[in-house]
Amino acid sequence: MNSSVIIFPGSNCDRDMDVALKKFGFKNKMVWHDDDKLPKSDLIVLPGGFSYGDYLRCGSIAGKSKIIQSVIDFANSGGLVLGICNGFQILTETGLLKGVLQQNKNIEFICKNIFVKVNNSENKFFENIDKDVLELHIAHNEGNYFCTEDELKSLEDNNQIAAYYCSSDGKVDDKSNPNGAIKNIAGIFNKKKNILGMMPHPERMIDQSLSGEDGSIFFENLLMNLK
């Protein structure tokens, strides 16, 4: 399977994502933001970081960058797009995903392990995943997902909520919400479920020696679903 990771000036999880994709068998290419064409890909990843310094608003300038039109075209034609952290913020800025990511409720950057409950596994990202509570890692200052009531209803009606922050045993409650996100939302899909944006970083959880291994489950499963 071929994947491409877009590098914006200020991206800083691009290498980590490259390492993770390759570890689980993707043939990955790095794509510079100033290019206008994407290489042939089965998956496009917008990585974490501080694209363009996150000036103006997180992800907003990246949402207008040269490569992004190709990403939008790719997504609209049904291609698989994954945005992690800053990548999620960029996807909301392009309009491919609904809502916004505000500053964390406690107005502090948060770096720690959290748990998410997978809400919808009828899609390429989570289909066949054999664990519905995953331990992942967050590292962000603006991960507090927000959308209007109408948007929320539409997300719920169309089963577009990908994952909720939860406790280790899968309870979705205030205590397990790290950043104040509405309804504990950690990640969402577009209507067709070919675009996933989420704040947690699976690529930091791919090795027993790191913070955990549940990221491996995510990538292994994703690759299998694409084959």
């Binding site: 999880c13 100033d34 502090e108 770096c111 590292a139």
Partner: protein
């Protein structure tokens, strides 16, 4: 403006220093030249009070590739890999403007490391604040933590370890010491020594503004009532530009275009150009109208003294200008040829076709003042005689609660959760361990690093304190299973013009040196921060030591968490029961006098090496060094980390339970051992003449103290973790 003595004094120069300048030049300098002299001759850049003593430091070792004198030190970790590292202070600016002060401190030290061709792989920091009761402490702590995080998180370099202390001696002068480790191929290290004449001098990075003018001079003076007015001397950081600069520089470094490179840190364009030329024994000619400026009508004086951040000066090979420019264009950074090297051995500045300064470089560098300041020895204080009545009034359970939630002992999770400590995907020991550990990307190796200071000990007896900090750094590396290799030091002191402060400095250095030599743990880089003094009140002497060590196979990483119940717990090293200068004596008994615990370097080395042997033979299941709070706090931290309990055995030979549990006798470790391996462990310890005691055995959850109270690990964890959150909320 005509320069005179008064203007020179306003620039921070002493009248006799100004006279020396005139004598050297055989004329009165113009204002630009005076500005350059004042920048090069201040304490921060010239090390005029410390140079004489720094020369004594042990800086050599088999694994040292580069010692002090470059942007950072470099050590060999095998297979052509080398680690570049250094610690640096940003104390004065952080007190005036905590966010920007701390942020630019982190930015500055990272530039020092990637200037040498290394990709930064880990950040650490040591921060000291005033009393938790002091009205400024909370805001300063919040601002500094946000600043450190704001910069490091954006660049995408993990902050893997640190140290936070509170003591009223920092009420008027906080300390922010930032350390960075970078990874480089040992055959591709870049230095700041210029070579060859008529080589283009290139300016890259951010544009120059009026920020930070005289920042280095500000950091070379004591604070008074008017420090708020000094805000404009604090630089403003832009981590995004630094990230671009990092990537652009590393890209340019992949070929052979660069002859010399130097970041523009303290004293900006002045010190960077002069240092490169001075090291190469060359002259340098700069055309200041070519310097990219972000403000209008900047004068040569302002351009030379600005401390705008995220800038580099490069001496390039001839003919490489176009290919180099392409790289900086790609990263959207300014690139300007602003001058060239020459053989005049002078710094010659031009502005709008006029020569505006011309000074022999040796006057600025080699001829800078060097002082042998008078200093006073500190006597070893008398030992305190604690009486039984001191202890009788205490309730053991209250003592434990008070100790584990003490600001200097409690968990610093509130701080390190605000730092991205996992980016780059190689952090295998997060903050909260004895040392942070990152893998050397793509290899089996891992690098461990920790930062330590012991101002209380250094204050009581600087020589012993200096030795102790080095030993503490050594122990922290040993505890994670790393072979200690080298250190960097950040020497934070009061006013060197006072002989007590100067004495603290001299004796701390002697102590550092003795331990560093004995442990073969050389100093490869560092910095000195004097004048940490406000209205005549100086800080406690605070040398901060950053240690670096190597774990050959990262799978052998050792941690402090108790692994399972019913294992034996041993204390390696002898417990004498000294409480003088311990945190127990200070906090519980309110006794602040007495000598610090003695350092026995033979035991220190022998115990450490033997613990490493036990780790290597896979006989130790967990390891933690005994430091602040003694055996009790050490063991409790191991319980908390592993969510296990401990049943302490009855202790022998000591007069009372407090001395046994809270003494801070040095050279000790706590280790967890499988019962079936006790014989093997005993044999190794005995064979190496290492003293040890059986401390107890691990339990499921209960912490049981003989003749004392019982706790659960969950309760102790709550005391340990909640204090700082409550304080900051």
């Amino acid at each position: 403006m005509e320069v005179n003595e008064k203007i020179a004094v306003d620039h921070g120069l002493k009248p006799d220093e100004y006279k020396k300048i005139c004598d050297l030049l055989k004329r009165v300098p113009n204002l630009t030249e005076l500005g350059i002299f004042s920048a090069m001759w201040n304490e921060h850049c010239s090390y005029k009070s410390s140079r004489l003593h720094l020369k004594k430091l042990n800086t050599k070792g088999k694994k040292v590739i580069q010692g002090p004198g470059e942007n950072a030190g470099v050590i060999d970790i095998g297979d052509d890999d080398a680690i570049v590292f250094k610690i640096e202070s940003h104390n004065h600016p952080s007190f005036i403007e905590p966010y920007q002060g701390a942020a630019t401190g982190v930015g500055g030290i990272m530039r020092d490391v990637f200037t040498m061709g290394a990709r930064p792989i880990a950040n650490l920091n040591s921060i000291h604040f005033g009393s938790t009761q002091h009205k400024k402490t909370k805001n300063l702590l919040r601002g500094v933590v946000k600043g450190i995080g704001g910069y490091g998180n954006c660049i995408g370099v993990p902050t893997i370890a640190g140290q936070t202390c509170f003591d009223q001696s920092y009420n008027g002068n906080i300390l922010v010491n930032a350390m960075t480790l970078g990874l480089v191929n040992k055959n591709k290290i870049f230095y700041s020594k210029a070579a060859g004449i008529n080589k283009p001098v290139i300016y890259v990075g951010s544009k120059t503004g009026r920020d930070g003018i005289h920042g280095a001079s500000m950091a070379s003076a004591i604070f008074d009532d008017k420090i708020e007015e000094k805000k404009p001397t604090v630089q403003v950081g832009d981590p995004f530009t630094e990230k671009l600069l990092l990537e652009a520089c590393l890209e340019l470094m992949s070929d052979k275009s660069i002859i010399a490179i130097q970041d523009m840190g303290a004293a900006g364009l002045t010190s960077s150009s002069i240092e490169m030329a001075s090291k190469g024994n060359l002259g340098i000619e700069l055309h200041l109208d070519k310097v990219p400026c972000r403000e209008e009508k900047m004068t040569p004086y302002e351009i030379m003294l600005s401390e705008s951040q995220e800038r580099m000066l490069i001496v390039l090979e001839n003919g490489k200008e176009d290919s180099a420019k392409k790289i900086f264009d790609k990263w959207n950074l300014d690139f300007a040829v602003i001058g060239k090297t020459n053989n005049t051995k002078n710094i010659e500045l031009y502005f709008e076709k006029e020569k505006v300064a011309n000074v022999p470089i040796k006057f600025l560098a080699n001829e800078a003042p060097m002082y042998d300041r008078p200093w006073k020895k500190t006597k070893l204080p008398q030992k305190i005689k604690f009486s039984n009545s001191d202890f009788k009034k205490l309730k053991f359970s209250d003592v434990i609660k008070k100790m584990i939630s003490n600001p200097n002992i409690c968990s610093k999770q509130w701080i390190w959760e605000q730092y991205d400590h996992t980016v780059m995907g190689d952090t295998i020991q997060k903050p909260g361990g004895d040392a942070g550990v990152v893998r050397v990307h793509g290899t089996k190796k891992a690098v461990a690093s920790s930062v330590d200071s012991s101002a209380t000990y250094c204050h009581a007896h600087p020589f012993t304190g200096g030795k102790q900090v080095v030993c503490e750094a050594w122990r922290n590396l040993v505890s994670v299973g790393a072979e200690p290799i080298a250190i960097t030091n950040c020497l934070n002191f009061g006013n060197p013009e006072k002989k007590e402060n100067m004495g603290e400095f001299v004796e701390c250095i002697d102590g550092i040196n003795e331990a560093s030599k004995y442990l073969n743990f050389p100093v490869v880089s560092g910095n000195v921060s004097f004048y940490n003094e406000t209205k005549d009140k100086g800080i406690k002497p605070t040398p901060t030591i950053g240690g670096v060590g190597l774990i050959k196979d990262y799978k052998n990483l050792m941690t402090m968490k108790f692994k399972s119940k019913e294992n034996l717990v041993l204390v390696i090293g002898k417990t004498e029961g000294n409480l003088d200068q311990s945190i127990f004596a200070n906090v519980i008994l309110d006794e602040k006098k007495g000598p610090p615990p003695e350092i026995n370097l033979f035991n220190e080395k022998n115990n450490g090496e033997t613990v490493l042997k036990l780790i290597k033979e896979k006989l130790a299941l967990s390891v933690h060094d005994v430091s602040l709070g003694g055996i009790m706090i050490g063991a409790l931290k191991m319980c908390i980390a592993g969510s296990k309990g401990i049943k302490f055995y009855k202790f022998k030979n000591l007069t009372n339970i407090y001395q046994y549990f809270f003494s801070e006798d040095q050279g000790r470790y706590i280790i967890e051992v499988d019962k079936n391996n006790l014989k093997k462990v005993e044999n190794i310890l005995k064979k190496n003449s290492v003293h040890f005691d059986l401390l107890g055995e691990t339990t499921d959850k209960e912490i049981i103290i003989n003749d004392g109270p019982t706790f659960t690990v969950d309760k102790v964890t709550e005391f340990y973790r909640s204090w700082l959150y409550k304080y900051m909320s």
